[in-house]
Amino acid sequence: MRRRQGKRLNWRKPGLALSGFLLFTLALGLMKGGAGGLTPLLRNHLEVTNAADSMGFGWLMAYLVLSGSPVAAAAVALLSASVLSYLQAFTMIAGSRLGACLVVLLIGCIYILRGHEHWTALTAGILSLLLTGSIQLAALPMGLLILGRGWLDGLSIPALEGLAAGINWGLEPLIGPLAAFLPGWALFVAGVGLVTLSFRLFDRALPQMRLERTDLGQIPRLVYRPEVMFLMGLAITLLTMSVSISVGILVPLSARGYMRRENIIPYILGANISTLADTLIAAALLGDPRAVTVVVTHIVCAAIISLLLILLAYRPYERAISNALAWIARRRNNFALFLGVIFVIPVVLILL
């Protein structure tokens, strides 16, 4: 009996992963098919016409769906349908990463509203935003330069493109009638919904990781080398494809629910790089070399900036982030100002 139950559990996770993958591919097809219908909305009503606009748009979209990955996937779909330019897709992905940090912050805010009035509840969210913001700020000019010069143009992942062609052929009978029946924007919105659902299926398909039994089980107490935590964040997020899940894996290590900031800062830096793995898969499945180039540029820029920081200027950077965190959390007014800034910036970007 016990053996039969174990067998069922073993098949459940691959089944969820396969369903998630198929749903992900279908969602990309829907987004790509419906993206053309969004052009009037984006260009005429929202006035998303330049790189700053698309960054603000990606940022606000991520706030709206409380996740960065569906928005980044939408950015490559919009690029693939030629609704966005190269540079616009790049900045929209950057915006999606910044917006995604709000999720952690929002959890902290809910906690405070429920009566636990401690600023400390918000620190993980603020830290995520500060780290992502600082990396994106440095990666933006580098990425725009790489894309402008065409240094990474023409990239593709042939193995995934072949697979995508096969899957698309299989899904065409489903997408075709839907495309004929629904308007473009509805198709796109359905795609965003399905891609979000597919990420949930992926999350449930993840194997259970037990770090507490390893030499890393003392992360809440000991101060680990930044290189170790950076690589760990990179690797675990590559497996889980989500920064919040990747950080969540660390939580059971501490019975009290917290970690040393010395450990979590490089961990998030590493996680910020590999979190784009799902967007890279999306770009490859769309079969568009431009989409692959944009995502690879993003990954390369984030990796270069993060590695330079870790290897050459980690202590001053760590201190600057920690001081900024302390300033924001010191007074309610400071926190209110910070919240105002992170909501105003994307709006200002769209208005530019």
Partner: protein, 270 residues
């Protein structure tokens, strides 16, 4: 307590020898003085060692002078490995920037290879009246606090026990109260940090020294250095970094970081 003092005739080791004699007069049962001098400083080093020996003998402490030739760092390590000391007191010029990157730190090399506690004399080297003991809660804390307590009692110094909390909450179920409480509150509440600090204060008391605990929040290395500056401490005491196996490659060596960046004497307890 058996103490090893060292000199090479330089002004840097002169300061260490001077503080070493002041410490040894109050805390030592026996003292060895190691002289490692190049030819141009041989006479100066001899005079410094003999003056220190005379000072200590006046205080009734038996002294032996050992002479070695070679590199100061290597000879201190060899001497400390050959005999059994409780405390080695060294000074010397610290390398900076690229030179430290290429050649390493002499003080760090001594603390890593000497099987005894090492007091590295840096900065002004005033009388050790106020001692800051850093306690991580790890396995070395107990030994560190005991040694610091014994030394502080001999010197008549006051002791502050510092614990730095750099933790941030990651979930809504995090125990937030402990992240904001003072040392006294943590001890009263019986939180893991409070229990640890209470135990360390009891240990200090058994060594004949009372002290009080301080909690700081922020990056561990920065907060230790900030507390040492703000509190105008004369000595920072920290446990040696001993984590055998894979952990040694994974975990940050905080005692080395404090030793290299502090601008006052640092005692690394082994």
């Amino acid at each position: 307590m058996k103490i090893l003092l060292c000199t090479d005739g330089s002004s840097y080791t002169a300061r260490a020898l001077d503080l070493g004699v002041r410490v040894a007069r109050k805390a030592a049962s026996a003292v060895d003085i190691l002289v490692v001098a190049k030819r141009d400083r041989e006479e100066k080093a001899r005079q410094m060692a003999e003056k220190a020996a005379a000072d200590l003998e006046t205080a009734g402490i038996p002294v032996a002078i050992h002479r070695r030739s070679g590199q100061m760092t290597e000879e201190v390590v060899l001497q400390a490995q050959a005999a059994s000391y409780d405390l080695v007191i060294i000074g010397g010029r610290e390398r900076r920037g690229v030179m430290r990157l290429l050649l390493g730190s002499p003080a760090l090399r001594v603390t890593e290879h000497v099987p005894a506690s090492v007091l590295v004399v840096k900065g002004q080297a005033r009388d050790l009246k106020q001692v800051l003991v850093c306690s991580s809660g790890g396995p070395t804390s107990e030994r560190t606090v005991r040694f610091a307590g014994r030394l502080a009692r001999a010197l008549g110094a006051s002791v502050i026990l510092l614990h730095v909390m750099s933790q941030l909450p990651l979930t809504k179920s995090a125990v937030l109260d402990d992240l904001e409480a003072s040392a006294e509150e943590l001890i009263r509440r019986g939180s893991p940090e409070g229990v640890h600090l209470g135990r360390m204060l009891d240990l200090l008391a058994t060594e004949g020294r009372t002290g009080h605990a301080v909690i700081r929040r922020g990056l561990v290395r920065d907060e230790i250095l900030a507390e040492s500056r703000e509190g105008q401490y004369d000595l920072i005491v920290i446990g040696a970094h001993i984590t055998p196996g894979l952990n040694a490659r994974l975990v940050e060596d905080l005692s080395a970081a404090i030793l290299l960046t502090a601008n006052r004497p640092v005692l690394v307890v082994r």
